[in-house]
């Protein structure tokens, strides 16, 4: 079934590309970008599919057993815009255009120095011929990297200033996963590129597995009273588990590092290994205590500007130490 669906997506991609995109590229003299744009169109189509499936599957859950009533429609609308600009490829395209030349220069320099990024199959030849297993190994390794990246997002004050945009939402819904500052996204992309230099890129044969993982991330933000239980919760990050990570009491400013918990993105294993797991069964209120009002209840662009403001304060505090503290840096009202 996934083959048939992927074939359908591919045919739509081809028809749209040939009818609308390629003629424009040709007219603009940009045919050297044709293959990149073609792949980008696949990202857009799969993103649209992911949005549709996520909504069809998870919105009924929110209606069935919500943790809280949706009282702040405007905040949710902002998250919908975040989801659209991310999953429909606008932010990824900006990041691609800005970071690719830098990534290419670094990668090319390393090749001239004789370094060729290995793949996991080259390190573990037994994985050859087992692409799905290889992909799963990649997912585990990448998720391990994501866990530590996430820890840094909370640990470093300047990075937390950006990442706090993701956490300041008090009305978490299935749309909240993409609520990130564009600079935060660029840092994440840089992190991913650095990991790719170490272990190569992820196999491309199973795009639906990647989509499935992103849907798990959406589910973990969904406003639903669902706990995966003792065994399921130990295997996969779910809504209750991740809600604890977003709990307002864990995102005080200044950030109390000892209180942070449940940093894992897909596999809770890392939290258990590094003693950051917390299981309470509670569905706690979410947000950042020091942030409220216009700083969090605003449209997409205003929220992005707010992110720059927070970053500016964090950097000023870091470098000049003339501000009384991180709390004041965040306080807007």
């Amino acid at each position: 079934m996934s083959d048939a669906l992927m074939r359908l997506v591919g045919q739509v991609q081809g028809i749209v590309f040939q009818a609308t995109v390629q003629p424009v590229l040709y007219w603009l003299g940009l045919m050297d970008w044709a293959e990149d744009v073609f792949e980008g169109l696949e990202v857009v189509l799969l993103g649209a599919l992911a949005i549709a499936v996520t909504y069809i599957l998870f919105r009924p859950l929110e209606l069935w057993r919500p943790v809280e009533r949706r009282t702040d429609r405007r905040a949710v609308w902002t998250d919908i815009v975040y989801t659209l600009v991310h999953k429909l490829g606008i932010v990824p395209a900006i990041i691609f255009l800005l970071l690719t030349p830098i990534g290419t220069a670094i990668d090319s320099y390393l090749r001239f120095k004789g370094y060729i990024p290995p793949t996991i199959e080259q390190v573990v030849p037994a994985l050859r011929g087992w692409p799905l297993v290889t992909l799963l190994v990649y997912i585990v390794v990448l998720d391990f990297g994501e866990y530590w990246r996430h820890r840094l997002q909370h640990r470093l004050p300047w990075w937390w200033a950006l990442h706090s945009l993701h956490h300041d939402q008090r009305q978490m819904t299935l749309w909240s996963d993409d609520r990130n500052h564009v600079l935060d996204d660029m840092l994440v992309a840089t992190w991913d590129a650095a990991v790719a230099l170490l272990i190569g890129i992820t196999p491309g044969e199973f795009p639906f597995v990647i989509i499935g993982l992103r849907m798990i991330e959406s589910l973990s933000h969904t406003n639903v009273r669902v706990d995966f239980g003792r065994i399921g919760g130990a295997l996969l990050v779910g809504p209750q588990y991740h809600r604890l990570h977003h709990a307002i009491e864990h995102a005080q400013a200044p950030f109390d590092r000892t209180m942070g918990c449940n940093f894992a993105i897909i596999l809770p294993l890392w939290d258990h290994l590094f003693r950051t797991a917390r299981r309470t069964g509670q569905f706690l209120p979410t947000g950042v205590a020091a942030l409220s009002g216009r700083a969090i209840r605003c449209g997409y662009l205003a929220h992005q500007v707010e992110g720059f403001r927070r970053l500016g304060h964090a950097l000023a505090h870091l470098f000049s130490r003339c501000h009384p503290g991180f709390v004041a840096a965040f306080r807007t009202e």
Binding site: R7, Q18, Y26, I116
Partner: protein, 320 residues
Amino acid sequence: MWSLPPPSLLHRLAAVAALAVGITVAAAASAKTVIVLNSDDDSLSVLDGDTYQETSRVYIGRSPNHLMMTPDTKFLLIADSEGNELVFIDRATGKIARRLGISDPYQIGFSPDAKWFVANSLRLNRVDIYDAATYKLVHRLPAETMPSHIAFSADSKTVFVSLQGTDRLIAIDLASGKVRWNVLVGPQPAGVWTRKTGTVLAAIMGSDHIAEVDPKSGAILRTIRTGRGAHNFQVSPDGKTLYVTNRVAGTISTLDADTLKVTGTLKAPGGPDDMVVTPDGQELWVTGRWRAWVDVIETASGALKATIPVGRSPHGIFMY
């Protein structure tokens, strides 16, 4: 230069590769078998040339884009650009004999004297020249930007490389690794082909023509209009017909290989890319990059004989 293998060989190759991933492959023999690299799927498709069906699809490595036979005809060589490796498939056994780690091989080629092996890195703006006997790197040249296709001079002294990102064609002296000339040839050049006369053809993808270039000076001698998005070349087994894919137009131009006069246009919707011609010259097989299929076209009539669904972004194609 390349001979056909025993009929069942490719099925053995497919069976061995497929067994490695736990799938069963039909063992029927075929007079001709075609390998297609699905670059976005990390896989290769094995197509039966008699039934026009895909008989198997197997994982081969990250971003396989181009393939060719080694000069000694013992191995089919597949270049996995993102996997940073060359995969050697033994023609006698159909098994993967070796995986050799090299940096980002996108487009590959052997010089006619089999002394040099050249790999372009389109993504990293670099041309690598290897000793073809040992695959030891001899020269690594920066090539701004997007070095794409490769052709060699008949005397094996020069390699011609198109630079898609800077509208240029360059000639590199293989022994010294020095660029002999670097000329503007037209917007976004792709395919490069050396004619029997020694002149070099470049397919101008950002326009609707091919350019004939003097191999000594790089001067453009003439241009021939083919179709929008001229992309790549292939010649018929008898050497009389030159085929040019026109990616934007969705056509293939047929040219008299001696005069370069356009003799016809074949329909090939789907972003036609790389081509092979059957040994009898009757069928032209072309990968449809944007539509994940391979078209089989009857060369005499231009009729579409078959459209074979394959994996995502089919690119390189090879016929046993």
